[in-house]
């Protein structure tokens, strides 16, 4: 337990180290999720459009 606390304490530099790492994690996760969401949205949009065209016929 003590070693774990020591690890997160980072010799007093925990604020610098963990803030940098967490900001990076947020950026990297957003970078993975945004294109996936965009593709899904585009496909849904196209699907709606195609379905509309079929109904008109």
């Amino acid at each position: 337990m003590k070693t774990l606390i020591d690890f997160f304490y980072m010799g007093g530099d925990w604020g610098y180290v963990w803030s940098a790492y967490s900001i990076t994690a947020i950026f990297m996760l957003a970078n993975m999720l945004l294109p996936l969401r965009r593709r899904r949205k585009l496909l849904a949009q196209i699907k709606r459009k195609v379905d509309k065209g079929k109904n008109r016929k």
Binding site: F7, T24, N31, M32, P35
Partner: protein, 362 residues
């Protein structure tokens, strides 16, 4: 609307570049005598004197360095010394490493270009569809390798790497700061190559790759700036210094990425947007050598590039996680780039039959 390249602009920009390089060229003094123990940039003849800008930098550097690590030899200054006195062999090895990486990027770009031109010659829209399905098969593998390397690198870097003599644990930011900065520069070179291929041969996949690389590069540059700022707050006692060549050039790189994204999204027609963006990308390529060399040729607060394979410059136990993290970021970037490419392909091919089928099947 068609965009034509006027070669007068190229000549003009070349002239401006020459003028800029003459104005900013530092007159570095040669090494003189033995290196004293209390070495800093000035003591080893690294002082550069070049007009009002240089003087300003020198003044702020003295002010900032006095704050915390003024008299002692720290990793910051030691780096520069080690780089100047290191054996010739390691330097050549390091250069070869970067040359090999550049060759790697060129080969990938060339492969993509050839591939698309061959298949595109047979069936024009077929290649984009093929790339869409092929990348779907690649992404899980790339992501898995990236996650694995990230885990190994993080554990190795945060737990097993020893603490730095002066910076203590704060230096551990290096394991994300350096990969992000390095990949942001490499991605720009990749993007510029793609832009050139798209501009010259009008290859669609190259244009899409260039468009997809910009937001990713912007994110990586932002990561580099933010983590660097936090690191500076811990070790230099300052989060940001206006006028520091490294910080300013990276900030300009971020603005270039953002303007490329803005220009690309501002023009409705995809082909026109790609041409316009390609010209902006290629003309802004000037910033890349400036970012890389800013730490060597200017008197900056930022340390010179760490020689990863030089034992005098960096402890191998620190270098190992750093190299792992660089490769992890590479695989991560490749995976997310392909994700963006897939979204872009759907967007640009939204009126075709196969995309409708794809949408109906989803």
């Amino acid at each position: 609307m068609k965009i034509r390249i006027n070669f007068n602009y190229f000549l003009l920009s070349l002239g401006c570049l020459l003028l800029l390089s003459l104005l900013l060229a530092p007159h570095t003094q040669p090494l003189q005598g033995a290196i004293p123990p209390e070495t800093n940039a000035k003591a080893i003849g690294y002082q550069t004197e070049f007009g009002p800008i240089g003087t300003g930098i020198t003044v702020f550097k003295r002010r900032v360095l006095n704050s915390r690590f003024s008299s002692d030899t720290t990793l910051l200054n030691k780096e520069k010394v080690e780089q100047m006195i290191q054996p010739k062999g390691t330097r050549r090895f390091d250069r070869n490493f970067w040359l090999a990486e550049l060759l790697f990027i060129v080969l990938i770009a060339y492969g993509f270009g050839r591939y698309d031109s061959i298949t595109g010659f047979i069936k024009k829209t077929g290649s984009l569809k093929y790339t869409y399905h092929l990348s779907a098969r690649f992404i899980p593998w790339l992501t898995a390798i990236a996650v694995l390397l990230l885990l190994i690198g993080l554990v190795d870097g945060l737990v097993f790497a020893p603490i730095d003599a002066k910076q203590k644990d704060a230096y551990r930011i290096i394991f994300i700061h350096v990969p992000a900065s390095s990949i942001s520069l490499q991605l720009y070179v990749f993007m510029a190559l793609m832009a050139a291929i798209g501009l010259i041969w009008h290859i669609k996949i190259a244009e899409i790759l260039a468009a997809a690389a910009a937001p990713l590069g912007a994110a990586l540059t932002a990561i580099s700036l933010i983590t660097g700022s936090i690191w500076g707050g811990g070790t230099w006692n300052t989060f940001w210094e206006w006028g520091d060549p490294r910080m300013m050039s990276v900030l300009i790189l971020l603005f270039i990425y953002l303007s490329i994204m803005g220009l690309n999204s501002a023009i409705e027609d995809r082909r026109t947007a790609a041409s316009a963006t390609a010209i902006l990308t290629l003309s802004a390529l000037v910033i890349i050598p400036f970012v890389i060399l800013s730490v060597n040729y200017f008197n900056t607060l930022h340390q010179a590039q760490t020689q990863i394979f030089n034992k005098n410059s960096m402890d191998p136990r620190m270098a190992r996680p750093l190299v792992i993290m660089i490769f992890a970021f590479m695989f991560y970037t490749a995976a997310t780039l392909l994700m963006r490419v897939r979204a872009e392909i759907i967007h640009s091919e939204r009126n075709t039959q196969w995309v409708s089928e794809e949408a109906a099947g989803s």
